[in-house]
């Protein structure tokens, strides 16, 4: 009788033991400088590359350890739970790419109250919840670059549409606002923005939204997708619908995912900053802050290894560099890197 009773317990215990072993090796020593990189969601090529940059920075920094983590789906709730568990582990610094600028403020404040350095990169946390925000580039430059690419491909005129991530995505919304500002300039008066749709950073939804754009706007000439998920889904939709040469896709993408679409002709040019550099810079800066080698205060600078130094402006934000344009001449070289 008792054997049967134990069978149930044993099965549950075995599963749990297996699960714990998976993570047990990650436990670190208390005297390390432990830096946690919390990304929007795991399984995202952009953040995998940022992780690689973070690991590179760690190698250059004595005593530093990197914890790379993030929720399965890009939600603020998932990130809140993760940050709570990082607070419990008493890590030295947390570097966040936020799914929601406001919802992370209370938990980030709690982390800072317990002596943890909190900074954001890529998608920022609201100022009350971080020391400073590291932008990969400047919003106005990113917005302008994407309109410039579309204008160059289309010869300066035609209908364009934007396919974004979620309607709540912080950085995408800022870039779209900048794009609209640029479109208002006389030089781009013949480019007509006809629609803004949201693919929620899911391949299938982005794909359906792209097809929806073709149906709704038969004269559409270009889709600008300021997201790595949206741009590949849009390019695939163009290819599948046999619209190569009629509709061009541009925006922000990863070279490794875009190389095929550049060669097929669905994409003429696209841009991205280097996420490896971004992860490197963010991790390096977090180490400098956590070890009190820099303050991160407004109007100060931080030395960040091979990326030289970054300057924090009066509003507590710093820009790493300008977005870099890829086309068929250079995409293959970078596709091997990220």
């Amino acid at each position: 009788m008792s054997v049967k009773l134990h069978f149930g317990k044993l099965a549950a215990a075995t599963i749990l033991a297996a699960a714990s072993v998976l993570g047990a090796s990650l436990a670190a020593r208390a005297d390390d400088v432990r830096i946690a990189m919390v990304v929007k969601n795991l399984g995202n090529g952009f953040f995998d590359a940022a992780h690689e940059g973070g690991e590179e920075a760690i190698k250059a920094l004595p005593g530093a350890k990197l914890i790379y983590t993030g929720p399965t789906t890009p939600t603020a709730e998932g990130q809140i739970d993760i940050i709570n568990s990082l607070i419990a582990q008493n890590v030295n610094a947390i570097v966040i790419s936020a799914n929601d600028p406001d919802a992370l403020v209370p938990v980030a404040k709690k982390a800072m109250a317990r002596g943890i350095t909190v900074m954001s990169f890529d998608a920022g946390v609201a100022p009350a919840g971080r020391v400073f925000q590291l932008n990969p580039s400047k919003a106005d430059l990113i917005g302008r670059k994407q309109i410039e690419m579309a204008a160059k491909t289309l010869g300066g005129k035609g209908e364009i549409a934007i396919l974004s991530a979620t309607a709540q995505a912080t950085n995408q919304n800022i870039w779209i606002a900048e794009m609209k500002k640029v479109l208002a300039e006389p030089a781009y008066k013949d480019l007509k923005l006809v629609d803004v749709v949201y693919g929620d950073d899911q391949s299938d939804k982005s794909y359906r939204e792209a097809i929806g754009l073709f149906r709704k706007h038969p004269d559409l000439k270009a889709i600008i997708a300021p997201t790595t998920v949206g741009i590949t889904a849009s390019a695939k939709a163009v290819t599948d619908q046999k619209l190569v040469g009629k509709v061009f896709v541009t925006g922000l993408g990863l070279p490794s995912e875009m190389a095929g679409h550049v060669h097929s002709g669905a994409v003429d040019t696209f841009a991205i900053w280097n996420p490896i550099d971004l992860g490197y810079t963010a991790t390096y800066a977090a180490f400098q802050l956590a070890t009190k080698k820099a303050t991160g205060a407004p109007n100060s600078t931080i030395e960040v290894g091979r990326m030289k130094s970054i300057a924090i402006d009066a509003s507590g934000e710093a820009a790493m560099s300008e977005p870099y344009v890829f086309d068929k001449t250079n995409v293959d070289k970078f596709a091997k890197i990220f």
């Binding site: 049967k4 317990k9 749990l16 993570g23 436990a27 419990a88 582990q89």
Partner: protein, 345 residues
Amino acid sequence: MTLTHPSRPVRPMPKSAFETRLLALAARWETALVVILVVICGLNTAASPYFLDLHNLFDSTQIFSEKGLLVLSMTLIVITGDIDLSVASIIALTGTFVGFLALHGVATPWLVVGGIAVGTACGAFNGGVIVRFQVPAIVVTIGTMSLFRGISYIVLGDQAYTRFPESFAELGQGTLGGYVPWEFLIYLAMAAVFAVFLHRTVFGRDLFAIGNNAQAARYSGIRVQNYRFLVFTLSGAMAGLAAVLFTSRVGAVRPNMAQGWELEVVATAVLGGVAIMGGSGTIPGVVLATFVFGMLSFGLGLINVPGIIMSIVTGTLLIAAIATPIVVRRLRLALERRREGNPRG
């Protein structure tokens, strides 16, 4: 004896009174959950030096307090043989309403009252449609799952409500004596109320009767439709309370808040021993299941297990915990049958 899921009656055996009671206790599903919980806490302690820390343990209750509230009312609904898949969407709609009120300078007590009122109204709407038009609850609540969140999307779009009074934030972020979150205390109090309500009142007994056989319950004079309406309204009220706490804790309202919680809530109730077809289940069981899932995700979080692996582990735990007693019972029945068929063997 074997582990017995509460949906199946324990087979009576001739034993001494004390032995019988001991065996009945060992065979209870809650006992198995206590064992699972102890095992999880033991493994967490072994895997992370940060687990056994009073501060951290109390902090971790915030992972499950809000969901736990929803599990309590979901338990009543599932016991009566229904299901409510709209609870997470009620949170989104209620949160939006509370955020709207706060933006217009409404004071904290009225934010709480208003939030619970909107949640209750949503629940009453579900219950009303289900009872009045005799539509299956799963159909109605799948509909309102989109409807309630849809309203929130229409109101907010890509915006957020982020301005709340200081005193409102205390509710979800504050603690008693710097340790015990108010949220956790509220959850424990509600769990006690639900336990008494379900297991010590005629009302509670009637819910079990409806879940076992609604027709028979009706012929015994139980007003089945009134009860169904009431438990759905109660579910809405609990979602309203959870929304108030969630909004206070996070300090921001967006239409995608609490997305996907309905399935976690149903899964927790099932792990807690509530029969998905209705008729049985206990509050201590679902409270334990809430702790099991809470401590599991806290422990996995402490050792930085990625969310994808975490979902796999919780899913596997759910299936293993539910399937093991069933498989064991099947094996035993097969053995007995073989013995009966072959008396010499």
